[in-house]
Amino acid sequence: MILDFKTVAKYIPLIINGIWVTLLFTFFSMIAGFVLGTLLTLIKVSGKKIPVVLANVYTSIFRGTPLLVQLFLIYYATPQVTGYSITALQAAVLTFGLNAAAYISEIMRGGIMSVDKGQREAAMSLGVPYKLMMSKIVFPQALRMILPSLVNEAIGLLKSSSLVAMIGVTDVMRGAQMIQNITYRAFEPYLLAAATYYVLVMILTLFANRLERRVRRSD
């Protein structure tokens, strides 16, 4: 028998407990990424020279280096430099948030650029100031357009969240690793982990489709 789920069965709670961590982690990283990404976007579309360059450098660094390297830099290297140590979970949320912000800011910038120029002109001709125009006219329309991309980003984040097992966060992946260590079986726990991620992604996709339909109702 190649597959032996019996031996593994009693350790399955390790994976199940990990689901909660994985979800919570993805959620907070996404929120952090969204907030930070929005700020970055505002800088990028502001047209102010030096801030724009800085924002672009930021994006370029976080998109140009591997996530795992960033994670190790923040978790292992930061305490060495600052003397202040953070928990694995904090480091992971921080890294993933900073990383997601870079990607999300590019998605949003594209979204904002794709809002018809006439929308801004109409707002301007009514005397609507820049901030109000961005928040009530341009941004809501951009958000609708980039929603599918944001969902993709969230799905990507959920899947790469398995990397945090590398620094000891007890997520789904880490649960599977622990089962392997206990039972000396690899196939079953990782298969279970894969299935778990798949189900989570499917749920997220379902949820996103609903959200998208709701947002698009006015079209």
Binding site: E121, A122, A123, S125, V128, I137, R144, S218, D219
Partner: protein, 240 residues
């Protein structure tokens, strides 16, 4: 009401407007016509600084809007604009489109803005579309809402940038009727149009623009029956 002095505008190497001088008095309805690419829209868009003039001065109600540090947002509240492609906000209902700026910018009370907007909607014949999203309206209806939206700010000046050019032929009339009614209310109007019949019958003055200059500036009767310049004759031969 509107005064343009030696206006010059270029986009890079392309000189669109050269030496434009124009005076529009209170209550006047002026049509800007000319061949495509002559700078009509650019001239109109300079009047509320959607385009920044390269040189020259523009005055709105004796206030120079081309000097630095002018609060253009304040000026724009008094200068309504209607666009070729309507530019309604697609994520807002008709009534929200109309009340947004009066409430958020002019700080009108919502009830007052609502009442005003409903009155305007009735005037343009779209009272029943109050809670409809723009996507559900025809082109002509969209443009009528856009006109009503601009009027909801109670501007003293209205600018129309080819308001019927994007419409199907059967919808042009309903929009022109609305503009014509508006012209009779004594509001100051400048409009860029290709509707020669409309310009002739409704406007007080015609400005014929070609190659970046105002070549003729006269009453419609004279312009259409007896144009002075060859270029205006040529243009009229083509369009009439």
């Amino acid at each position: 009401m509107i005064k343009v002095e030696n206006l010059y505008k270029n986009f890079g190497k392309l000189e669109v407007l050269k030496e434009i001088n124009l005076n529009i008095s209170k209550g006047e309805v002026v049509s800007i016509i000319g061949p495509s690419g002559s700078g009509k829209s650019t001239l109109l868009r300079c009047l509320n600084l959607l385009e920044t003039p390269s040189k020259g001065k523009i005055f709105i109600k004796d206030e120079e809007i081309t000097k630095p540090n002018i609060d253009i947002m304040k000026i724009r509240q008094n200068v309504g604009m209607v666009f070729q492609h309507f530019n309604l906000f697609p994520h807002m209902t008709v009534i929200d489109n109309m009340t947004f700026a009066p409430v958020r910018v002019k700080k009108m009370k919502y009830e007052d803005a609502y009442e005003k907007s409903m009155k305007l909607l009735e005037q343009v014949g779209l009272k029943e579309k109050e809670n409809v999203f723009p996507g559900k309206l025809s082109g002509g209806q969209k443009q009528r809402v856009a006109i009503a939206r601009a009027l909801a700010m109670e501007p003293e000046i209205m600018l129309f940038d080819e308001p019927t050019s994007a419409l199907d032929p059967e919808m042009i009339k309903e929009v022109l009727m609305v503009i014509q009614d508006l012209a009779q209310t004594g509001i100051t109007m400048a409009l860029v149009t290709h509707e020669m019949g409309f310009a002739r019958n409704v406007c007080d003055r015609i400005c014929f623009l070609d190659g970046g200059y105002i070549i003729e500036d006269t009453i419609p009767e004279k312009f259409f029956n007896n144009p002075k310049s060859d270029r205006a004759k040529e243009f009229l031969d083509k369009v009439l």
